[in-house]
């Protein structure tokens, strides 16, 4: 009888699977990813390596010496709220983070706009005390610009009524407000000494969310040629809420990571963060294989660093408030070893 090894499901629950069952999961996932994203499946040697990582009984795993990559993060390292400076010092001095990130619990550009001077002061103080680069992060969250939270009509109410033109007009109005806010906050934080900006969970409200972010990225790149600009995505596939938005002739709706990367680097981003959402009912081995297959085509066309998201609920890391270290470390090693990515 084949021995079983402890492994995780996408929600973090520990189960026991045989090596054969894990191999079946990995092979099924790469075929499904290849079919959906219209990309090549992983090669046999890559599947073998992935299986070795996930069929191990080790409590922790890591990349080989010398293969370490740059870590960026959305939110500070230890994510303590209300102690920005101490949190970032801890992240730098104790966790050894490569890129620090100042953030606020109201993690939307629309909300940050109202407290910008407060965040600028924190950034100035942080920069005096920290050695590692510090970027400022928040989410575009375009939906906050629709009623009842914002000024534009709510396209998610208009679309079900069949008012396509009205919905698109509302989205256009929201995008104008959003891009202005992203630029206002971006300029403010970069003027305060930030080493870069992070547009985190971009595309969360679909193609218009992505488009309004790309416009801000292009503006900031033009004005701040030495600033870091990281665009981290919300998911593997850009949802076409508007449906007709194009970036330099490329329709944004329906873009997978390789195409997302290309528009981001053309707009002026310096780091791209693809995100592939977890399937909680599948094993972490399945999820890692799926994520790596979908992301791998990025590596051939990237002119800028690619940092796949391996946070809670993305990139093969369980969606759990305390992602188990055995699963998170396997996801990190799997992405670095197979993708040869530039960071995480």
């Amino acid at each position: 009888m084949e021995a079983k090894v402890p492994t995780r499901m996408g929600d973090g629950f520990m189960v026991e699977l045989t090596r054969s069952e894990l191999r079946a999961d990995i092979e099924t996932a790469t075929q499904e990813a290849a079919r959906k994203a219209k990309v090549p499946p992983l090669a046999p040697d890559e599947l073998d390596h992935l299986l070795d990582i996930y069929a191990s009984r080790a409590a922790f795993t890591a990349v080989d010496i010398g293969d370490q990559v740059v870590l960026s993060c959305d939110g500070g390292g230890s994510k303590m709220t209300g102690t920005d400076l101490l949190d970032l010092l801890e992240s730098e001095q104790r966790l050894g983070q490569d890129i620090l990130e100042l953030w606020h619990i109201e993690y939307s550009y629309k909300a940050i706009k109202t407290i910008l001077p407060f965040q600028q002061q924190v950034m100035q103080n942080v920069q005096l005390m920290c050695t590692a680069p510090v970027q400022y992060g928040a989410q575009p969250n375009l939906a906050f610009y629709s009623k009842p939270d914002g000024p534009a009509d709510n396209w998610f109410e208009l679309l079900p009524r069949g008012d396509i033109a009205g919905a698109r007009a509302a989205i256009d109005e929201a995008m104008d407000h959003a891009t202005k806010d992203f630029i206002y906050v971006g300029e403010g934080m970069l003027d305060a000494g930030a080493d870069g900006m992070d547009f985190d969970t971009t595309g969360g409200a679909g193609d218009a969310d992505f488009f309004s972010t790309l416009r801000a990225v292009r503006h900031l790149r033009g004005k701040y040629p030495d600033a870091g600009i990281e665009v981290g995505m919300a998911g593997e596939f850009v949802i076409g809420v508007h449906g007709e938005l194009e970036w330099e002739g490329r329709r944004l709706a329906g873009l997978w990571p390789r195409d997302q990367l290309e528009v981001c680097q053309d707009a002026g981003a310096t780091i791209f963060g693809p995100a592939v959402n977890i399937r909680t009912g599948k094993s972490c081995a399945w999820n890692a294989a799926y994520s790596i297959t979908v992301t791998k085509p990025c590596m051939d066309v990237a002119r800028i660093p690619v940092h796949p998201n391996v946070g809670e609920g993305v990139g093969g890391v369980p969606v759990n408030g305390y992602p188990p270290e055995d699963a998170a470390s396997r996801a990190a090693k799997a992405h670095v070893d197979i993708l040869r990515c530039d960071g995480l």
Binding site: F60, T61, A62, V63, I65, G66, Q68, V69, V70, L71, S72, C73, G77, S78, K79, S91, E92, Q93, L95, G96, Q97, D98, I99, Q124, Q127, L128, M129, C130, T131, A132, P133, L190, A192, G193, A194, D195, G196, D226, A227, G228, T270, I271, R303, I304, P305, V310, G311, V317, Y322, P323, E325, A328, S329, A332, K333, V336, C341, D342, G343, L344
Partner: protein
């Protein structure tokens, strides 16, 4: 989770040369092999040294690039934080916004 990733795959920040390689990714959009090669050349070390905390503790100390401070490893009189960033900007040949701002605000 941040601890997990730092140990599993991270370069090590200012325990090593992770912050320096990160600056080349951010400011110049350099892919990882290019950024590592650039920093190693500037430091006069091997690429593998960049994520070796033993090697980099010595190199950072020699070049005044800032080191981790704890109760058994203190370096009073040595550059750290903002003062180390002046040296990092010069070493890497990239402007650091907070250094430029500090220079302006201090009237240097």
């Amino acid at each position: 989770m941040d601890v997990t990733h730092a140990l599993a795959a991270g370069m090590g920040g200012m325990r090593t040369a992770g912050d320096l390689v990160a600056r080349m990714q951010m400011a110049r959009g350099m892919r990882l092999p290019d950024a590592k090669a650039y920093v190693a050349d500037k430091l006069g070390c091997t690429v593998r040294d960049l994520s070796d905390s033993y090697a980099m503790e010595q190199i950072r100390g020699e070049k005044g690039l800032g080191r981790i401070l704890d109760h058994s490893n203190l370096h009073p009189g040595e550059p750290n934080a903002m003062t180390a960033k002046f040296r990092i900007a010069e070493l890497l040949g990239v402007p650091i916004s907070s250094v430029e701002r500090f220079r302006e605000l201090a009237g240097l």
